[in-house]
């Protein structure tokens, strides 16, 4: 069996990091950082999502390259959706 069994300690550590980051993001939002506020919020959210995918969803330990390919292409398509739509709407006024 090629299945990778992680230690429960690791899962608890990931949980602790996620809870800490949740508190941090709520606290950071209360400090005025100007344009950096939404950037910080999205960076923290992306950090949380990444460790959920890597550890809770076992992507870090998968030997299956197809899984990685599906994730990367899904994110790439999401990027197309967001980038092209925003490039359009942000360069003309909404009436």
């Amino acid at each position: 069996m090629a299945e990778h069994i992680l230690s429960s300690k690791l899962y608890w550590a990931i949980w602790a990091i996620l809870i800490c980051l949740t508190v941090v993001t709520a606290l950071v939002a209360r400090v005025d950082l100007g344009w950096f506020n939404p950037v910080a919020a999205l960076l923290i959210a992306t950090g949380k999502a990444t460790i959920v995918v890597l550890f809770f969803m076992h992507v870090k330990y998968t030997s299956e390259k197809l899984t990685t390919m599906v994730i990367v292409s899904a994110l790439f398509w999401l990027l197309i959706l967001l980038a092209l739509s925003l490039a359009d709407y942000s360069t003309r006024p909404i009436s």
């Binding site: 608890w12 996620l18 939002a29 959706l81």
Partner: protein, 230 residues
């Protein structure tokens, strides 16, 4: 056929079109990831609409966002993270063949999921009371921060709340489906269906649950944390 070069012992769990358990498990996992790929695009459309209107009506979105309860949103985020932990631990317990622990952890996940939905329902009820539900009875009587005479255009605030209800509503629907999936998993675990060799349903059910958690990880800062420092 019987003297095929691949001598595989066919257990009841192994479907005949798979060579071995590992291939079957990988196929199931890949199928779930493909489904999650479509889910990314499904939620992506709503996130895109949100971004476009947030850029267009930033001040209105900020004022409307501040009417949401930050403590409740933070607690609900923590509840979902706890449920993700119990899911991850239940997959591990299934891998190790600890059948009782699997049931306990799946039940805990279900309870965390129901707690999330309960808190969400309480929040929505508050919105009803405050007339923040988009529609004919919508009213939004708030001013720009620091400018009491500059009232917010309620139509623009209504766009925020339309997106809020569409996004948290779709997320809650996914949670309800997740609770249903986990009820079935608990039943299967109760009947002793999961072994160290076969526990694919727990694993891919877990992938689904983690995905729904990730959607919330993004919804929380985008909906609750706009301009909180003012």
């Amino acid at each position: 056929m019987s003297d095929s070069s691949v001598a595989v012992e066919h257990t009841p769990e192994l479907r005949h079109h798979f060579a071995d358990m590992e291939q079957q498990r990988n196929a199931a996992s890949l199928g779930m990831w493909l489904f999650l790929g479509t889910e990314i695009m499904f939620f992506g459309g709503m996130f895109c609409a949100y971004l476009i209107y947030r850029l267009a009506y930033y001040n209105e979105f900020a004022v409307a966002s501040r009417t949401l309860s930050l403590p409740i949103g933070t607690i609900n985020t923590a509840v979902l993270i706890c449920s993700s932990l119990t899911v991850a631990l239940s997959v591990r317990a299934a891998q190790l063949g600890k059948q009782k622990l699997v049931i306990v952890l799946l039940v805990l996940t279900l309870l965390f999921g129901l707690a999330f939905l309960g808190i969400k329902g309480y929040e929505w009820r508050e919105k009803f009371v405050e007339h923040h539900i988009p529609g004919s009875s919508f009213s939004f009587d708030e001013a720009m921060p620091g400018h009491p005479e500059a009232k917010i255009d309620p139509r623009h605030a209504q766009i925020f709340f339309s997106l809020y209800f569409a996004m948290t509503g779709m997320h809650a629907l996914h949670m309800i489906i997740g609770v249903g999936i986990f009820a079935v998993l608990i039943l299967m675990a109760w009947r002793g269906r999961f072994t160290p060799e076969y526990h694919t349903p727990v694993e891919i059910g877990g992938l689904y649950w983690h995905f729904v958690d990730i959607v919330w990880i993004y919804l929380f800062p985008l909906l609750y944390l706009i301009d909180r420092h003012k």
